[in-house]
Symmetry: C2
């Protein structure tokens, strides 16, 4: 199924008739194509579904290119990132090419789908900006954090599921909630893994988020759980390079206050709502995706 | 007339409901709104024309934000650029927000207009990338240069004029040629001014393009006109900081070989074709815009 999506993306890239772009696109890792999978599972593999999936994956690739420039990321999916290989300029412009070609093709899919997906791109760009501004201080506002990850990570999954439901004549609301919950839970778990995994598994230093200034959900909960002195120590470590001893202290305190369990439970609840919505629709494959996400140990 | 466009843009920004974006947008210089003027002059000031003009100006602002990041520009319209004030991250993401909101609103204007404008965004992004890759060496390929400035500068003017003609039920081809010629001539003259103006007028060092590695039309023609030794000297100065003496040598050789006149003549011919097309359509205001562009001394 996904083969048809890959071929459609390649055709869209060929349309541009620019050998440099073709070569750059081929250098990008394909990724898991999670959004394309969702779309095909909801809407089947007719031409409109394949086109929607291809467009969403091009848009997602564009957002990752800009995200890597924003984060000064050297790697993406354990390979050197495009900005590291060819510079930020190339990454920004390849992103703009993929966005605009995606929007161009989107126009043919009708106004409701085109608006759903272009609105998601606005939301994810607003989310990226919010991620940067929240990282400039020790953010303790849980709602601001949750809204930011909804915008940054979940909005395009919500729109993917919603657009696919529109194509298939299924109830868009339930599918949008599914996509939104899946996206938020996915980001929460990603944030947890930054704390619980070792550097080798992550392909980046552990506690990288906190060193970058990002107070993800576990840090917000840890801050709430600590006493005054602990809070002050936690704040003093925010946004700086951590020694092994400082990393160990944070991890010990997280353990002591059962922060990872608490954070994971929240991701689990969102995933369970998603599962139950899809069970109601008889969508076994979709509930399995949500189930696989939370069936791991932390 | 333009007031209605400004109000529409403000409304689109307000829709996003994000105070940080509202503040950032207000910090951007408004610019000349040349594309909005073209659209209103062609299509009148009905709601669809105002919306199209607002969308095109948001898209143009987004492209300038990314362009300034690409060029490491410190200034834009003689004021500090947004990337210089708030960093590249903010400039990239504000650009993405303006692009995606523009595309979102574009969906309502119908497929032909939406595709015309989104295709122009692809072209201008391809043009920016080409500008970077052409600058990495001493480019002597005039056609490659002309295609690049068509993509980078003229494609959005071509699409603006074409979209406005569609709205007004006027012949799109003539108006697109007008917009394209105007855009290419505009960029040619901009490139000439980089050589003929002093640093104070430009708000950046003179011969900045050449120092950046850009062999604009006058450098391509100068290279053709010089003897072997002169060509070698010219190539040796490419892409590096120039001394006063080196700058003087380039300017003297340009004078000697009448390079500025030759380049300007080419811009003039494009503008004259544009004028004659609009005279045929009885579009006095549009031919005046093209005329004003070339009625200056070099």
């Amino acid at each position: 199924m996904l083969d048809a999506v890959e071929r459609k993306i390649e055709q869209y890239i060929q349309d541009l008739n620019d050998p440099e772009i073709t070569a750059l696109y081929r250098a990008l890792p394909a990724g898991k194509r999670l959004r394309a999978k969702l779309i095909l599972k909801i809407a089947g593999n007719g031409l409109s579904a394949v086109k929607t999936a291809a467009i969403v994956e091009m848009i997602h690739a564009a957002s990752l290119l800009h995200d890597d420039v924003i984060d000064d990321a050297d790697t993406r999916r354990a390979k050197p990132s495009l900005n590291a290989l060819y510079g930020n300029k190339t990454a920004i412009m390849l992103g703009d090419v993929l966005y605009s070609k995606g929007f161009f093709e989107l126009n043919r899919l009708g106004v409701p789908i085109a608006q759903m997906i272009s609105n998601a791109v606005t939301q994810l760009s607003l989310g990226e900006l919010k991620d940067v501004s929240l990282s400039s201080r020790f953010n303790t506002d849980r709602d601001a954090y949750l809204h930011m990850i909804y915008q940054k990570t979940a909005s395009l999954m919500e729109a993917s599921a919603g657009a696919a439901a529109l194509l298939a004549g299924k109830p868009a609301d339930a599918y949008m909630t599914y996509g939104r919950n899946l996206g938020i839970a996915f980001q929460m778990i990603d944030d947890i893994l930054d704390i619980t995994s070792d550097s080798e598994t992550l392909g980046k230093p552990a506690l990288h988020d906190y060193e970058e200034g990002k107070t993800t959900l576990p840090y917000i909960y840890l801050h709430e759980a600590l006493d005054k002195a602990g809070q002050e120590r936690l704040r003093s470590l925010h946004g700086k390079r951590l020694t092994d001893e400082e990393q160990a202290w944070i991890k010990d305190e997280m353990k002591e206050h059962e922060i990872i369990q608490k954070s994971f439970l929240e991701a689990q609840e969102l995933a369970e709502e998603a599962i139950s919505l899809m069970d109601n629709e008889g969508e076994r494959a979709l509930s399995s995706i949500a189930m696989a996400m939370i069936e791991r140990d932390f």
